[in-house]
């Protein structure tokens, strides 16, 4: 299929800003999502650095307690709702899911563009809220404080409500695309594992996101009309809000991590040059994780005054998440076994994912154990745990995917050694920043305070210095990514020797992806016959 005549690729054809803003091409919409979310990643990252600066020394280092409360709220809300939820499904998923199943576009291209603009509208509302009176509730908006706080809670939750719609429509679009637009021969069991992961993610998006919609709506009504459902003073129950919130937000954790796992399942077989071990096990464990994710939300509420019955149920159910997760880690490791491993940057990130996500996952089991959680709840142990999952997992997966697919998306190779140095800085910086926090949390340092007793000073200093390594790593990455776009030369269609469909077409792809609809005849990771 290669070697067809050079028609304009999707980046340059058609031309003009207007053609971008009104595009219905899934690849362009994916890139627009990526640019937007990466901007928010940058903003959220700035807040993270400021938080770490304040915590560098005990006492007031940089900002007052009120400012700190706002900053950690901004960091959480921006990173969760505007970066980590949309970045892989809506950016990379949008770009690659249709190509990987041999489709010309997603099922509903105009809806796809609409969900991008809905996302922008929601993000704009939230940013407006941050600039108006800010918010100091934390990204969780727990009642009753969120009912009383005199900050812009209504605006920011309205923003979350609107962004939820965008997430629902994206998920809906992907499910229909996977069901109805697979090319001839592309059976469910021949789909690449990234598609399986995005499919499982989309199921969660469709089932869980409406609940955050009604939750934020009720919170807004609580503030505007005093409906009292979450307000104990009016007969309601403040803890009920936590149930509502986590019924969405726990599955949302899997909206964040499943696509990252999908990318790892793509990268590992390509750079180990082996057929993936346990294809079906990985595919179905994605669905299992999606299903179980709805049964475990109460583990966020072990110390909220929840009933003993619920505590026990949720503690046991949470343990079950470990099974499909461990199946995945086992299969990835088994794929590496006796593989012909080449340590290109995407592979480095994939291996870091295995290392750090395993730490994040196992510490999650500590927290799932009821009695241990009572000690560790709301300490830095929890902070370290979910950063190991979210940043050590999802962000590492994202970076693996970005480096892996960058040549396909833009037709340019990045400078390999710059990328490796940047990886080193990020790997060291991340572990310095967050591994220390396991100790801090275990020693009792609570989260969400701008200050701490001097006994914790040493570890906090190391953590803050680690955040500067991260800054350096990401700055270098931004530099070499942007620079690669202006370098001469063109990436080959298949620089890594991948077997999935996206590598069989031009880099960058043409507007409708395939000159003619392909017919698939085999499994996606068949490296027995690859020629390099």
């Amino acid at each position: 299929m290669s070697g067809h005549a050079e028609v304009g690729n999707y980046l340059t054809h058609p031309k003009g800003l207007r053609s971008w803003l009104t595009t219905v091409d899934h690849k362009r919409i994916g890139l627009m999502y990526m640019a937007t979310s990466m901007t928010f990643f940058f903003v959220g990252g700035i807040f993270a650095l400021l938080i770490r600066l304040e915590l560098m020394t005990p006492g007031l280092t940089l900002m007052s307690a009120d400012t700190y409360n706002k900053f950690f709220t901004y960091h959480g809300a921006i990173m969760i709702f505007m970066f980590i939820i949309p970045i892989i499904p809506a950016a990379l998923g949008n770009f690659f899911l249709p190509i990987m199943i041999g489709a010309k576009d997603v099922a509903f291209p105009r809806l796809n563009l609409a969900s991008y603009y809905i996302f922008i509208a929601g993000a704009a509302l939230s940013v407006w809220a941050l600039m108006a009176h800010g918010a100091d509730t934390g990204w969780t908006f727990y009642t009753p404080y969120s009912i009383r706080s005199n900050t812009s809670v209504v605006l920011i939750t309205l923003g979350v409500f609107v962004m939820g719609f965008s997430s629902i429509l994206t998920g809906l679009n992907f499910i229909v695309t996977v069901h109805k637009l697979r090319c001839p021969g592309m059976t469910f069991h021949r789909m690449p594992l990234f598609v399986w992961a995005i499919y499982a993610t989309a199921i969660i998006q469709v089932l869980a996101t409406p609940v955050i919609g009604i939750t934020t709506l009720l919170l807004i009504m609580e503030r505007l009309l005093k409906i009292g459902i979450f307000d104990p003073a009016l007969g309601g129950d403040a803890v009920l809000f936590q149930h509502f919130f986590w019924f969405y937000s726990h599955p949302a954790v899997y909206i964040m991590i499943l696509p990252g796992m999908g990318i790892i399942s793509e990268v590992i077989p390509v750079f180990a040059r082996k057929h993936i071990f346990g294809y079906k096990a990985i595919a179905y464990s994605s669905l299992a994780i999606a299903g179980i994710s709805f049964l475990v939300w109460g583990h966020h509420m072990f110390v909220s005054g929840q009933s003993d019955l619920a505590n026990m149920l949720f503690s046991v159910l949470t343990m079950f998440v470990a099974i499909p997760t461990a199946i995945k880690v086992f299969n990835w490791t088994a794929t590496l076994y006796k593989g012909s491993i080449s340590l290109k940057t995407p592979m480095l990130y994939a291996l870091s994912f295995l290392f750090m996500f395993t730490i994040g996952g196992l510490t999650g089991l500590f927290l799932a154990a009821l009695s241990v959680d009572v000690h560790l709840h709301d300490t830095y142990f929890v902070v370290a745990h979910f950063h190991y999952v979210m940043m050590g997992g999802t962000v590492m997966g994202l970076l693996a995917g970005l480096h892996y697919w960058w040549p396909k998306m833009f037709g340019k190779m990045v400078h390999e050694w710059s990328a490796k140095i940047s990886w080193g800085l990020i790997f060291i910086g991340f572990n310095m920043t967050f591994f220390t926090q396991f100790f801090l949390g275990y020693l009792g340092m609570p989260r969400r305070y701008y200050d701490y007793p001097p006994e914790y000073a040493g570890l906090n200093m190391i953590s803050t210095i680690g955040s500067w390594f991260l800054l350096a790593g990401f700055a270098l990455m931004a530099f070499y990514f942007i620079r690669s776009l202006f370098l001469p030369g063109k990436a080959p269609a298949n620089p890594w020797g991948g077997k999935t469909l996206e590598w069989q077409i031009a880099s960058p792809p043409t507007e409708h992806n395939f000159p003619e609809i392909p017919t698939v005849t085999g499994k996606p990771y068949d490296y027995g016959v690859v020629k390099l």
């Binding site: 009933s307 619920a310 949720f314």
Partner: protein, 372 residues
């Protein structure tokens, strides 16, 4: 569009379903006038579900639709059921919340036999008492118990000189224990109920060892000081109340840890220019000093945050006023707001019962401590 034609012309079926829905509506309304007790909700939901299924199967022709659409739609109800049941497993099964009784947790933790042992002024108890005395009492009562501590000059009446042999509120062990626990009304002597019971008995032993006058307890003094309730005087006589206490409040447990923490320096330095006692200073010394220190230098632990090692604790300490840059340092309204609401996360209680004159006096005094 082959599939579209498969179920064309369903008008007659629709009208049948419509009739069934109307009948079921009539049924559910009329049934609601009869009382089935606990089954009311069940009957109503059963009828509603039959109606709902009819709408889904025929009006929405889910019956003829493909398997994927059927699974998709049914999954909504499955996950809704999960949502309801797991939320219910909390909301409907919460333990009844009772207010925690905290009257005398400390003594409840001790057996009556231990109490009697503690009451005997053993020498090793006095030695321990001396250590505690150094932290808790010496600032006012002086290192040697002569009532000449660094803070004594600011106080009126002067702190007790234990070597004089005079006991204002009685010198028997139980009376001294009572005074330490509840303080001495009308003086600067505060109650130290936050000190654990064994430690208070150790203090009793030490204080009595300083005094030439050591009266012994009689049943009357025991009764008068309330100590008899802590002692086992045969079955039925002991007050069983405190033993039933279910939970030790966290704040209480914290205090237990905090008061063994040493390194309190501010208490030993006399404040500057203490000759005339201003109103602000008076309020400060009665309400604020115990945590913020004489000079507002802070550094006094008020809460245990965690354990850095088995012995070393990470504690929350009060701040030096001078280093703060918050609004209250230059704005009296903000100061009043802060002090009346307190800082819950930092164990600062709210103090709101001041007159306007007292507020500005306290504000000025705290400012003067900052300026120092």
């Amino acid at each position: 569009m082959a599939k579209g034609h498969k179920f064309g012309g369903h008008a007659r079926a629709y009208i049948k379903v419509w009739a069934a829905l109307l009948v079921l509506t009539a049924v559910t309304v009329s049934v609601s006038y009869y009382d089935f007790g606990d089954w009311n909700a069940f009957v109503a939901m059963l009828v509603a579900t039959v109606k709902g299924v009819l709408v889904c199967l025929f009006f929405m022709h889910l019956m003829y639709d493909n398997r994927v659409n059927q699974v998709v739609f049914i999954s909504a109800f499955v996950f809704l059921a999960i949502f309801i049941l797991l939320t219910g497993s909390d909301e409907w099964f919460r333990r009844e919340m009772k207010p925690v009784k905290v009257t005398d947790t400390a003594s409840a933790a001790l057996g009556a036999a231990d109490m009697e042992k503690l009451m005997k002024a053993a020498p090793e108890l006095a030695a321990k008492g001396k250590e505690i005395y150094g932290v808790q009492c010496a600032a006012c009562h002086g290192a040697d118990g002569k009532g000449d501590g660094p803070a004594a000059s600011a106080l009126n009446p002067k702190p007790r000189d234990f070597t004089s042999g005079v006991w204002k509120l009685g010198g028997t062990p139980s009376q001294v224990f009572h005074t330490i626990t509840h303080g001495s009304p009308g003086t600067s002597m505060a109650g130290f109920a936050s000190v654990s019971v064994p430690d208070r008995w150790a203090l009793v032993a030490y204080l009595r060892s300083l005094s030439p006058n050591k009266p012994e307890d009689t049943p009357e003094t025991l009764k008068q000081s309330g100590v008899d309730k802590m002692l086992d005087q045969g079955p039925g006589t002991r007050d069983q109340g405190p033993k039933t206490t279910e939970a030790i409040p966290v704040s209480f447990a914290m205090k237990q840890y905090v008061q063994t923490d040493v390194g309190v320096t501010d208490l030993t330095v006399p404040p500057a220019g203490t000759d005339s006692v201003s109103l602000g200073q008076k309020i400060y010394q009665s309400d604020c000093m115990s945590c913020h220190g004489f000079q507002g230098k802070g550094g006094i632990p008020v809460s245990v945050v965690g354990f850095v090692s088995e012995k070393e604790r990470a504690t929350l300490k009060t701040k030096d006023f001078a280093v703060s840059r918050q609004t209250w340092t230059y704005n009296q309204a903000a100061f009043i707001d802060l002090v009346s609401n307190g800082l819950p996360g930092r164990n600062m209680p709210g103090f709101a019962d001041y007159s306007a004159e007292e507020w500005s006096a306290l504000y000025r005094y705290v400012q003067s401590l900052r300026a120092r």
